[in-house]
């Protein structure tokens, strides 16, 4: 039996944690690449509807966003509002918004500017139609109805 007896003091060697940081850094870079920094604060709820025939929005730097939904903060009322950049807006302000977005892009890219509409599912079409009419007036014809990928119709 003596064969199995431990001879003398033998410490378990410590686990080398030197490469642990490398692994975590790898994770970090991975997340930095696949995610985007959240821009601005949302003041409205935007639970976008789901659809099956979605396309990916390309050339992110050429996308301007319009959010429509019920204000998160109750003191702004329960009616759906439009949010442009970091503040509430009215449909009539969209013209100025699009002009500003256009001015901040180079001339070659202006025609590719897309407007992404992030609209809450429960919003009624009236306000969306107003926005669409404004966009037509200012000539921003390319739009994208933002949706999730998922089943849309229960059959």
């Amino acid at each position: 039996m003596a064969r199995f007896k431990k001879s003398g003091k033998k410490e378990v060697p410590g686990i080398n944690t030197g490469s642990m940081s490398d692994i975590i850094f790898m994770f970090l870079f991975f997340f930095m690449v696949i995610t985007t920094i959240r821009q601005g604060t949302l003041f409205v709820t935007t639970r976008v509807p789901s659809a099956t025939e979605v396309q990916k929005l390309e050339r992110k730097n050429l996308v301007s966003y319009i959010y429509i939904g019920v204000p998160i903060d109750k003191k702004h009322g329960k009616e759906p509002r439009i949010q442009l950049n970091d503040q509430f807006a009215f449909a009539s302000e969209i013209t100025a918004f699009i002009e500003k977005e256009r001015a901040s892009r180079s001339e070659n890219d202006r025609e590719f500017l897309t407007t992404s509409l992030k609209v809450d599912t429960a919003v009624v079409m009236g306000i969306v139609t107003d926005v669409k009419q404004e966009l037509r007036r200012v000539g921003a014809y390319k739009i994208n109805y933002s949706t999730k990928k998922g089943k849309s119709v229960s059959k």
Binding site: S21, I24, A51, S116, V124, M125, G126, N144, K148, S152
Partner: protein
């Protein structure tokens, strides 16, 4: 006498990188920019005469304030919309009530019986946005399915796998012919 430099303690390095990782996880969000891309029609010019479109070539989809569908004058469930749209465009029986077709020569495909049909989508101001997107989605699904079928028969590949030129040809044969009509209340007040 050579002296060994003391080893750097890297134990806390992992903690620091974890901290950074958590920070990035919190401030960033995974890309969810997906959606249905559409092109709005230009505003009608004053005095311009609207193009006369044959009645049979217009597939009228109305959505009322109660989120009910009226397709070509018939109340329809949203689940049936896709098949109806496909039938309208393809018109397999050459019915005089469905869309007209016209022989066109398209690069890479050759002669193709292109449909002259247009979907006219009209909604009420109180229609739910979710329903509107569902309708848009069903119409898009119909068009995508028709494109896929054509791609399969012509190139033996699905539409997704085609190269740009082939994709363009298919898109020319089956365009996204959806007209979002001028806003108009279609009744059914709540």
């Amino acid at each position: 006498m050579s002296r060994k430099a003391p080893e750097l303690n890297t134990g806390s390095m992992a903690d620091i990188s974890f901290l950074l990782l958590t920070f990035f996880l919190l401030v960033s969000n995974i890309d969810t920019d997906l959606g249905l891309s559409r092109k709005l029609p230009p505003l009608p010019q004053d005095g311009a005469i609207a193009d006369k479109v044959n009645e049979r070539n217009v597939f009228v989809v109305l959505v009322n304030a109660r989120n009910q569908l009226l397709v070509e004058g018939v109340p329809t469930e949203i689940g049936q919309l896709k098949d109806k749209t496909k039938e309208f465009f393809l018109n397999p029986t050459n019915s005089i009530h469905l869309s007209e077709k016209e022989m066109k020569t398209i690069d890479l495909i050759g002669d193709y019986n292109k449909s002259k049909g247009v979907v006219s989508l009209r909604n009420d101001r109180s229609t739910k946005y979710g329903t509107y997107i569902q309708v848009q989605n069903e119409i898009a699904a119909a068009i995508n399915e028709m494109r896929n079928d054509l791609a399969m028969s012509k190139f033996n590949k699905s539409f997704e796998d085609l190269n740009n030129a082939e994709r363009k040809a298919i898109s020319k044969a089956i365009p996204v012919a959806v007209s979002e009509a001028e806003p108009k209340d279609v009744g059914g007040k709540k």
